[in-house]
């Protein structure tokens, strides 16, 4: 260590190394933050509400799906319920990190849990597996705050950019959200199961789209996931 910046010297080292380890992920996170900020106002959210979602919810997939549901005219209780279902995978993250967080205080566990997004989890579990049982909670905090800072900044920049566009629909911005979803979905389409999930979810939403409160979307999500799960289990008898 010949050169350390003043920030590095003033911070506990595990925190700084967690913060730094997450910097390369900013490249992947920033475009989605920009889009969340850009699109919030196009589905009727104020700038403050768009920013609050990123600051208090801090969950990319759930925020995107909420924007999609708002654009589709879904009721608020349905959006919260769908957020819950989309975020159920976080239970897995918590379960797999819990053994490494025994040393943290009750409040520490709550704070770290708040930052437990997809990217944070990926880095945290890799760190746990490297350090063989003695990972520092401060490392998790560094990772979490790094991703959080980028998510907040990129949302704010997206909001500012969106403010420069007077007529979003004329530029095709009403299609930006479906296009973002396509970018998220296509890399997942490997093998039979995700195609089955997509086909069944799509068919159900077209048939049940007219149900009140946009309940059809939730039914489509549940039916699609069940189809993917079934396709994964099913083996053709040869």
């Amino acid at each position: 260590m010949t050169e350390t910046t003043s920030i590095e010297r003033s911070l506990p080292s595990p925190f700084a190394s967690g913060f730094r380890a997450a910097l390369p992920l900013w490249l992947g996170v920033t475009p989605f933050g920009l889009v969340v900020g850009l699109l919030g106002p196009t589905v009727g959210l104020s700038g403050a509400a768009t920013m609050s979602l990123s600051l208090f919810v801090f969950a990319g997939s759930a925020q995107f799906i909420a924007l999609g549901l708002l654009g589709a005219g879904a009721s608020y209780p349905l959006i919260v319920l769908t957020t819950l279902i989309v975020n159920l995978r976080h239970l897995l993250y918590g379960a797999s990190l819990a053994p490494y967080l025994r040393a943290a205080s009750g409040r520490g566990k709550a704070i770290l849990s708040f930052f437990l997004a997809d990217e944070t989890y990926a880095l945290a579990i890799a760190h746990c597996q490297r350090t063989e049982g003695a990972p520092s909670p401060l490392y998790f905090l560094g990772v979490g705050l790094s991703i959080y800072l980028d998510w907040a900044l990129s949302t704010a920049i997206g909001l500012a950019l969106g403010g420069l566009v007077p007529e979003p629909a004329a530029l095709g911005l009403d299609f930006a959200l479906p296009a973002t979803f396509i970018a998220l979905l296509v890399p997942k389409l490997e093998g039979r199961a995700p195609w089955a999930a997509l086909a069944v979810a799509g068919a159900v939403v077209l048939v049940a789209g007219g149900l009140p409160g946009r309940l059809g979307i939730l039914l489509a999500v549940i039916a699609g996931a069940t189809a993917g799960w079934g396709a994964e289990k099913w083996r053709p008898s040869s």
């Binding site: 918590g94 979905l185 979810a201 799960w229």
Partner: protein
């Protein structure tokens, strides 16, 4: 006020799913079948919103080639498949939609 409740509700359920098993100290595990089912939720959710936005854009099912959203989705899907780049995918989808609207007059 209602929007405040929406944000509060989303924040609460998100925090709850993150915190629950951390607080339970990893003593309980989810059944493997449930884990696999949960893994397919994002695909189904994104798929439902894409299909609806593309094939039933204004709440009416349109499977004909004069539907400009169909062309936007095809272009976006192709670019996503080739590049896996979110900004290029958005540009391709929005560009193709704009072009299809000009050509199809819709």
């Amino acid at each position: 006020m209602a929007t405040f409740l929406l944000i509060l509700g989303m924040a609460a359920v998100t925090f709850l799913t993150r915190y629950l098993f951390v607080a339970l100290l990893g003593r309980w595990r989810l059944p493997a079948a449930l884990e696999r089912w949960l893994g397919h939720i994002p695909t189904a959710a994104f798929g439902a919103i894409i299909v609806e936005g593309t094939l039933a854009p204004q709440g009416r099912v349109r499977l004909d080639p004069a539907n400009p959203y169909l062309w936007g989705a095809l272009a976006a899907g192709l670019v996503a498949w080739r590049t896996e780049n979110v900004l290029l995918t958005m540009a391709a989808g929005m560009g193709a939609l704009w072009l299809a609207r000009v050509v199809l007059g819709g």
